[in-house]
């Protein structure tokens, strides 16, 4: 008898080298390992101590993104902009890659960028693969029907040495999304609404599969935005079944299969979908048609509110502490809050379509006085593509800064930070206390909402600017 399985179960089963037992986790094979300068140095130290090589340099994709400055880097001195520690990490990464025979997409490659932006744009991210990286937003790659999740540094060492991980099989959660996103409402708004619904721990122990009409209608970049924030709902991974949109996106990309291999790959990918009748451990649904642009009002990504609704009231201590920190009032909409800094970028919203959406709002308008707006492309390729379309000029003409590729204000490791007390409307994925600088107050939003807020000088509804 043929049993029906979910997409996740198919990809999982395809990579089990040694099955799990009650006593031991499964040994799971990894097809693509992306590494960066912040969470890998200690793993290379372990290899060095044990005298081990990197098992599959061909399946390892190293780049520099987390701590790199987003001002142009033409010399080592420029690297020091971000501080001695960051410069040291970059130097160390370059040396580790040389020593272990890895092809680093670093400065001068034209292909450097955020780990979760370059994997897909190179075509290295493909349906059915297992993909890991020492960054929790590895779930981004799930948009292609790959099983992708974040790992710690010890595990980075495991994959470097054996190309495998020890894993317990997670549970599954189906999120069905009907309807179509209205104008001015984007993938970012949808995923914020989903996290608001399930809570920041709603997906703990689960892999999410996003399905339904609203998902099918999204392009690949929007799907990446959705899967990217799975971790904000507590899930380790988020998946979307591959379809024609996925195949079209990958066709012709430099690391995608070519020729006869391509045809074979496409026919394998077409089988990667959840069978009718396959059971999930949990499920939930949401309607996209009724959504408004969403923003966060608190200090975790589950504290979200529609832009045209009042911030809710809550009584528990954590809720009050969050509102205190944010200097936000219950009962008033978020649009009542003045903005100091606006950031468009990150692996959530630093792709070409995101920059286009921001530019569409900025075109022919000016950033409000006293507001600093930074637009940071997710990769060097995104930067070049945006410039080829003249988006950099629209952005600069509006008075915003157009910068070099990197994680930038998403994590604030490289000197790109907001000052204490400043309010930042950010297209990144985390609004934790201090994430964008000590005392910085972060409001998560879509690129259109971020750009609208920069122009208005307060948190603003992008639908008024379209």
């Amino acid at each position: 008898m043929q049993t029906s399985s979910t997409l996740f179960e198919k990809v999982w089963a395809d990579h089990v080298v040694v099955p799990e037992t009650a006593d031991t986790p499964a040994v799971l094979y990894i097809d693509l390992h992306i590494i960066h300068e912040v969470t890998s140095p200690q793993a290379f130290s372990v290899l060095r101590e044990k005298g081990l090589p990197v098992r599959r340099p061909d399946l390892t994709l190293p780049t520099l993104d987390h701590s790199t400055p987003t001002t142009p880097v033409s010399s080592f001195k420029d690297l020091l902009v971000a501080g001695e520690g960051a410069a040291n990490q970059v130097r160390q990464m370059e040396q580790n890659c040389r020593e272990f025979g890895l092809d680093l997409l670093g400065y001068g490659s034209g292909k450097r960028g955020i780990v979760h932006v370059i994997g897909p744009e190179l075509g290295a991210t493909q349906p059915g693969k297992t993909i890991v990286c020492g960054d929790s937003h590895s779930s981004t790659h799930g948009a292609f029907g790959a099983l992708a999740f974040g790992i710690g540094t010890t595990e980075v060492g495991h994959v470097l040495a054996t190309q495998c991980l020890l894993q317990r099989k997670p549970k599954t959660l189906a999120v069905d999304i009907d309807g179509r996103l209205p104008d001015g409402v984007y993938a970012k708004d949808l995923i914020l609404a989903i996290i608001g619904r399930i809570g920041v721990d709603g997906g703990t122990g689960h892999v999410i599969e996003y399905r339904g009409e609203a998902i099918s209608a999204l392009d690949m970049e929007a799907r990446m935005t959705i899967c990217n924030m799975s971790i904000e709902g507590g899930a380790r991974a988020g998946l979307i079944a591959p379809d024609d949109t996925t195949v079209d996106y990958l066709h012709g990309r430099e690391r995608a299969p070519q020729g006869a291999d391509w045809d074979a790959a496409v026919s394998r990918w077409q089988k990667l979908r959840t069978d009718d009748g396959a059971a999930f451990d949990k499920s939930t649904s949401i309607n996209a048609s009724a959504l408004s642009p969403m923003v966060t009002f608190g200090t975790n990504p589950g504290m979200v509110v529609a832009i045209d609704e009042a911030v809710p009231t809550g009584s528990d201590a954590s809720f009050r502490k969050a509102l205190d920190y944010m200097q936000v009032e219950s009962g008033k909409p978020m649009t009542a809050n003045a903005v100091d800094v606006v950031f468009v970028g990150s692996c959530t919203n630093g792709r070409l379509s995101d920059i286009e959406e921001a530019a569409r709002v900025l075109e022919g308008r000016s950033v409000a006085k006293g507001v600093r707006m930074m637009v940071v492309p997710g990769s060097e390729q995104v930067k070049a593509a945006a410039e080829a379309r003249g988006l950099d000029r629209i952005i600069a003409a509006a008075g915003a800064e157009w910068r070099e590729a990197g994680c930038s204000m998403c994590i604030g490791m490289n000197g790109d930070i907001a000052k204490p007390g400043q309010l930042s409307v950010s297209t990144s994925n985390r609004n934790f206390e201090g994430r964008q600088g000590v005392g910085a107050r972060t409001v998560l939003a879509s690129p259109a909402t971020a750009a609208a807020s920069a122009i208005a000088g307060h948190v603003a509804d992008p639908r008024k600017f379209l």
């Binding site: 097809d31 974040g150 507590g234 954590s318 985390r430 005392g439």
Partner: protein, 194 residues
């Protein structure tokens, strides 16, 4: 990793829920290439006031917290990033265990791999622990039990393999390497692996 079989210590309580990895160790302290010395920056922004001075109110800064080795935290502790610097910082500071009613997946995984015993207890036990800071607790890894000061023991779930690794001080890389033959055969069986 050194074997971890039994932990006896007093608790310090941080009742806030959803304490994320950025609060445990802020990103600006991640520009290191080693594992050592992160304890100094543990909970940095909670331990210090806005002007950089010591926040005497913060629980870890109170004199009676000094010798505590077990952290009792609010629900969903360790949510956020995969940075292993979070458990490294807790260990470097002197913590040996973290107890909550829910602990984020990746953090828990990372913690156990480094010998920081991260355990999830039922809501009632959690509530009791939150209300009784400074309690003298015992954690037995082998039997997966927590002993309260009145002698009551409470079981908790701990993956058998994680338990075995803690007790033996086993390096999981060594375990993976034992399977290298099967890994090779797997690679050969999948011609399409790029």
């Amino acid at each position: 990793m050194n074997p971890v079989r039994h932990i006896a210590g007093r608790s310090v309580v941080l009742p806030t829920r959803d304490i994320d990895t950025d609060q445990i160790i802020a990103a600006r302290f991640l520009t290191t290439t080693s594992r050592e010395g992160l304890g100094e920056h543990l909970f940095h922004d909670l331990r210090r006031n806005k002007d950089g001075s010591r926040n005497e109110e913060f629980v870890l800064n109170r004199p009676d917290s000094d010798s505590c080795t077990i952290l009792v935290a609010g629900k969903n502790f360790g949510c956020g990033s995969s940075r292993e610097h979070a458990p490294w910082a807790l260990l470097d500071y002197g913590f040996k265990a973290v107890i909550s009613s829910e602990i984020a997946d990746i953090f828990r995984n990372n913690a156990l791999k480094n010998g920081l015993v991260a355990i999830v207890v039922d809501d009632d036990t959690h509530a009791w622990l939150l209300e009784n800071p400074g309690a003298a607790l015992g954690i037995d890894v082998e039997s997966a039990t927590l002993t309260l000061p009145d002698g009551r023991t409470i079981g908790f779930e701990l993956d058998k393999f994680a338990r075995y690794c803690l007790i033996e001080g086993l390096d999981q890389l060594g375990f993976l390497q034992q399977h290298i033959d099967r890994i090779e055969r797997f690679e050969e069986s999948r011609p399409w692996t790029p």
